[in-house]
C-alpha cells in the first residue's frame, strides 16, 4: 500500500494552485460573484491550454484540480463541465471541450424523433450554471427508457432563465426547450450504466471540491487568527480559538483522505467505489459546512460582513450540501451496505481488513 500522491500529481496540484491564486484572489472572486454571469467566460481557452480538460486526466488528478478549485472558488463552469456533464460524454466516447452542465429532465423533458434527428421539449426547474455554459447534457425519458442528449445552449427553442441563487458563483437556471434540436449521446440501452458511472465520478469531484472549500476557509481563518490581536495577543494564542481551528483541520484532513481514496477506487476498481464515494461525500460535505462556520466564528465581526469574502465559501459549502444530483442521502446507503451486506464485494475496497 502506498497512499501518497506521485511527484507528477503534486506538480499538477501546485500548477493548479499557482494558476488559480494568480487569477482569482478573493476580491476578484467577490467581484465576479456580484457581476452579471457569476463566472468568467473568457477564461476557458486558458484552462484548455493548461490541460484542465485533457482527456487523459485520471480521477486522482481531477480530484486535485477540483480541490484547488474549491479552495479559491474557481469562478468558471469547469466543475459542472467535468463533474456533471463530462462523465456522459465520456460514456459516449467523446471529449467535452466547451463549458457544459447537466440537466436532469427525467419526467419533465420529452424527446421526439424526426427525420432530421432528435428534438427535446419540456423544462428542467434548476440547472447549475446553465446560464454560463455552451452545452447542455440532458437526461430525458424516451419510449424505450431514459437516455442522454446533448444540445447547444444557442439552439432554437431553448430558453435559459437564471434564478436567484444562494451561491451566485454557481447560479441555478430554469431551462425550457421547445422542439430544440439535440443529439443522442447515450441511448436507453446504456443510460443506466452511464448514470451509475456519472454518479461515482461526480460524487468524487463533489467531495473533492468540498475538501477544497474547507481548506480555503480554514487557511483564511488561520491567517486571521495569527495576525488579529485582542487583549494584546494574537487571538490564535487563545485555546478557545486555536482548538476550534484544530477541529476544522481534523474534519478537513479526514475528508481529504476519503476523497483521494474514493478517486483512486473509482479509477481503478469502479465496481468497488460506491461505498467509498458515499463516505467521501458524507464526510466532506459536513466538513465544508462546519469549517466555513468555524472560520466565520473565528473572524468575528468582520467575518459576518458582506465585504469579507468568507460568506462566499459558506454559500458554496451549503450549495454542495444541498445539491441533489447524486441520488438520495448517502447516510442510508452507507448504513444499508453495512447492515445487509447485500453486495459484500462492493464494500471490500482494499485488502487490509475486509471492509
Amino acid at each position: 500500500m502506498d497512499f501518497a500522491l506521485t511527484d507528477e500529481q503534486r506538480e499538477i496540484r501546485q500548477a493548479a494552485r499557482d494558476h488559480l491564486e494568480r487569477h482569482y484572489p478573493p476580491l476578484r472572486v467577490c467581484a465576479l460573484a456580484e457581476g452579471p454571469g457569476g463566472s468568467e467566460a473568457g477564461a476557458w481557452p486558458e484552462l484548455i491550454r493548461q490541460g484542465w480538460l485533457d482527456d487523459d486526466l485520471g480521477m486522482v488528478e481531477l480530484t486535485l484540480l477540483a480541490e484547488e478549485s474549491g479552495r479559491c472558488l474557481h469562478p468558471t463552469p469547469w466543475w459542472t463541465t467535468v463533474a456533471l456533464a463530462a462523465p456522459y460524454a465520456r460514456a459516449a466516447g467523446e471529449q467535452l471541450t466547451v463549458p457544459a452542465t447537466f440537466a436532469d429532465g427525467g419526467g419533465t423533458v420529452r424527446p421526439a424523433r424526426s427525420p432530421q434527428g432528435w428534438t427535446l421539449t419540456g423544462q428542467v426547474a434548476a440547472v447549475p450554471q446553465a446560464g454560463a455554459v455552451r452545452c447542455l447534457v440532458v437526461r430525458a425519458d424516451t419510449d424505450q427508457g431514459p437516455a442522454v442528449f446533448a444540445c447547444d445552449t444557442g439552439s432554437a427553442g431553448l430558453v435559459v432563465a437564471e434564478l436567484s441563487t444562494l451561491d451566485t458563483l454557481r447560479r441555478m437556471a430554469r431551462v425550457r426547450c421547445d422542439g430544440t434540436p439535440a443529439r443522442l449521446l447515450v441511448g436507453p440501452d446504456r443510460a443506466a450504466e452511464a448514470a451509475r458511472t456519472a454518479r461515482l465520478r461526480g460524487g468524487v469531484l463533489l467531495a473533492a471540491e468540498a475538501v477544497g472549500v474547507a481548506a480555503g476557509a480554514l487557511d483564511m481563518a488561520v491567517a486571521h487568527a495569527r495576525q488579529r490581536e485582542q487583549f494584546g495577543r494574537p487571538i490564535g494564542s487563545f485555546q478557545a480559538v486555536a482548538h476550534q481551528l484544530t477541529e476544522a483541520y481534523v474534519d478537513t484532513e479526514s475528508a481529504r483522505s476519503l476523497a483521494y481514496r474514493a478517486a483512486w477506487l473509482v479509477q481503478h476498481e469502479p465496481e468497488a467505489g460506491a461505498q467509498a464515494v458515499d463516505e467521501a461525500v458524507l464526510v466532506a460535505r459536513s466538513a465544508a459546512v462546519r469549517t466555513c462556520e468555524t472560520a466565520i466564528q473565528i473572524t468575528g465581526g468582520m467575518g459576518v460582513t458582506w465585504e469579507y469574502p468568507l460568506h462566499r465559501w459558506l454559500r458554496r459549502a451549503l450549495w454542495l450540501e444541498a445539491y441533489p444530483g447524486f441520488g438520495d442521502d448517502p447516510h442510508d446507503r452507507v448504513a444499508e451496505r453495512l447492515l445487509r451486506r447485500a453486495d459484500p464485494d462492493e464494500i471490500t475496497p482494499t485488502a487490509p481488513d475486509g471492509r
Binding site: 500500500m1 502506498d2 494574537p234 479526514s254 483521494y260 481514496r261 481503478h268 447516510h331 442510508d332
Partner: protein, 385 residues
C-alpha cells in the same frame, strides 16, 4: 498511489492471517486472558517472528518497514488478539535503547525484550506531572561513587506489576531549568525501595499501577543517553509510541465497529433511522481515520517522518471510540442497566463504555493534542508562556 498491498506485503499478511486463525479461531470480546496465557501467547509471537518486526536485523528484528507493522496490528486486531505482554519493551524501550543506549545496555536488554523474557514498564507520569511531563519531581540523588538513589512516585504505569525493569525519568539537576535537569534510567523493578500497587480505574479494572520509589538504587551504567539529557530521550520514546500507534488504535476500532454491527443485528435495530444515521457517520469517519493513517504511513516511508496529518489520529480515534461505545449501550435500552454476568456479552460494552472515557485523556489529552496541532501544524502562536 496504490491502495493495495504489494506482493511481499500481501504474502506477509496472508501468512500472518493463517497463523492467527490457527491460534485464535474466533473473536470473543468477553474472553479474559490470564497472565500465564499472555506470557505463552507472547512467547509464541516471538518464536513465530512477529516480535520486533521493524527492529534492525542486527538487534534480532526483521528489519521491515512500518507498513509491515501496520499489517501486523491490523491483522491481530481483526483476530481479537491481545497485546504482546512486552509491548512497552518492544515498541518504546527497545527503539529508545537502539537510539540512545550503550553497547552494554543493548547487549543486556534487547535479546530479552524480543524474546519476551525481560518485561518492561515505563515510569514517566507523576501525580504532579501529567500533561506537563517536564515537571517530574522524582529525584535522583547522587550516591557516590557510581550511582543514584531514586525517590518519588510514578503513576499510570502499565505492566509495572509484571515488569522486570522500568524506563524511568527522574530529576538529577534540581537547580537547573525544568527541561534540563532530567535523566533517563533503567531501573530494576526488584530492587529494594521499589513498591508497586495497582490503580483502580473508574470501570473497576486495574490496567495501570503506581510505583513508589524510596531510595531505590540505580548505577551509572543504567543511565540512558546522557545525564541531564533525559527530556530528549523521553521525547524520542514518546515519538516511538506515536509512530504506528495511531494505526494500532484504528485497527482495533475497526474490529470494535464490527462488534457494534453484530450487536445492532442482535438487538434488531437494523431499521432504526437514528441508529442507521449514526452508524453511517461513524463508519465513514472511521474510514477517514483509517485512510489518514495510511497517508501518514506513506509519508513516513518517504521521509522517515510521519506527515502532519498523523497528529489527528489519536484525537479523532478517541472521540470515535467513545461514540461507538455510547451507541452500543443505547442499543441495549433498559438492558444497559445491567452489568457483568447479567448483561449482554458478559458486560463487555458496559466495561468499554466506561473504559473509553479515559481515551481522550490517556496518551496525551485531547487538549494537549489540539495544542500541538495548533502550534506545529497550523502555525498558530503558542498559547502558554
Amino acid at each position: 498511489m496504490n491502495l493495495h498491498d504489494d506482493p511481499a506485503e500481501a504474502a506477509f499478511r496472508a501468512e500472518l492471517r493463517d497463523w492467527l486463525r490457527s491460534r485464535l479461531p474466533d473473536d470473543d470480546p468477553s474472553r479474559t486472558w490470564s497472565t500465564a496465557e499472555l506470557r505463552e501467547w507472547s512467547r509464541d509471537l516471538s518464536a513465530a517472528g512477529y516480535a520486533g518486526i521493524t527492529w534492525p536485523r542486527e538487534y534480532g528484528g526483521r528489519g521491515l518497514s512500518a507498513a509491515y507493522q501496520a499489517i501486523f496490528v491490523e491483522e491481530t486486531a481483526r483476530a481479537g488478539a491481545p497485546d504482546h505482554i512486552n509491548i512497552i519493551g518492544m515498541n518504546m524501550v527497545g527503539p529508545t535503547l537502539i537510539a540512545h543506549g550503550t553497547d552494554e545496555q543493548k547487549a543486556r536488554y534487547l535479546p530479552g525484550i524480543l524474546s519476551g523474557r525481560t518485561l518492561f514498564c515505563q515510569g514517566f507520569s507523576e501525580p504532579e506531572a501529567g500533561s506537563d511531563l517536564a515537571a517530574v519531581r522524582t529525584s535522583a540523588r547522587r550516591a557516590e561513587p557510581d550511582g543514584y538513589l531514586l525517590d518519588g512516585e510514578k503513576v499510570w504505569s502499565s505492566y509495572a506489576h509484571l515488569a522486570d525493569h522500568c524506563l524511568l525519568l527522574a530529576r538529577t539537576g534540581p537547580a537547573e531549568p525544568k527541561h534540563q535537569g532530567l535523566t533517563c534510567f533503567l531501573l530494576d523493578m526488584r530492587a529494594p525501595g521499589v513498591k508497586v500497587s495497582p490503580l483502580r480505574q473508574l470501570n473497576g479494572d486495574t490496567d495501570f499501577n503506581q510505583i513508589i520509589l524510596t531510595d531505590a538504587r540505580v548505577d551509572d551504567a543504567d543511565v540512558v543517553g546522557e545525564v541531564g539529557k533525559g527530556w530528549s530521550v523521553a521525547l524520542s520514546t514518546l515519538a516511538h509510541e506515536r509512530g504506528t500507534f495511531g494505526i494500532t488504535l484504528t485497527a482495533r476500532l475497526v474490529a470494535q465497529f464490527d462488534r457494534l454491527l453484530r450487536l445492532v443485528r442482535e438487538v434488531g435495530a437494523e431499521d432504526d433511522p437514528a441508529v442507521r444515521r449514526e452508524l453511517a457517520v461513524l463508519h465513514a469517519r472511521l474510514q477517514g481515520l483509517r485512510y489518514t493513517g495510511y497517508r501518514s504511513l506513506a509519508a513516513l516511508r518517504r521521509s522517515g517522518e510521519p506527515g502532519a496529518e498523523s497528529s489527528i489520529l489519536k484525537l479523532e480515534w478517541s472521540l470515535l471510540h467513545q461514540r461507538v461505545c455510547a451507541l452500543a449501550l443505547r442499543l441495549q435500552g433498559p438492558a444497559a442497566l445491567l452489568d457483568g454476568g447479567d448483561a449482554a456479552w458478559h458486560g463487555y460494552w458496559q466495561r468499554q463504555r466506561l473504559r473509553s472515557r479515559a481515551n481522550t485523556i490517556e496518551g496525551g489529552t485531547s487538549e494537549i493534542l489540539r495544542g500541538i496541532v495548533a502550534e506545529r501544524v497550523l502555525g498558530l502562536p503558542r498559547s502558554r508562556q
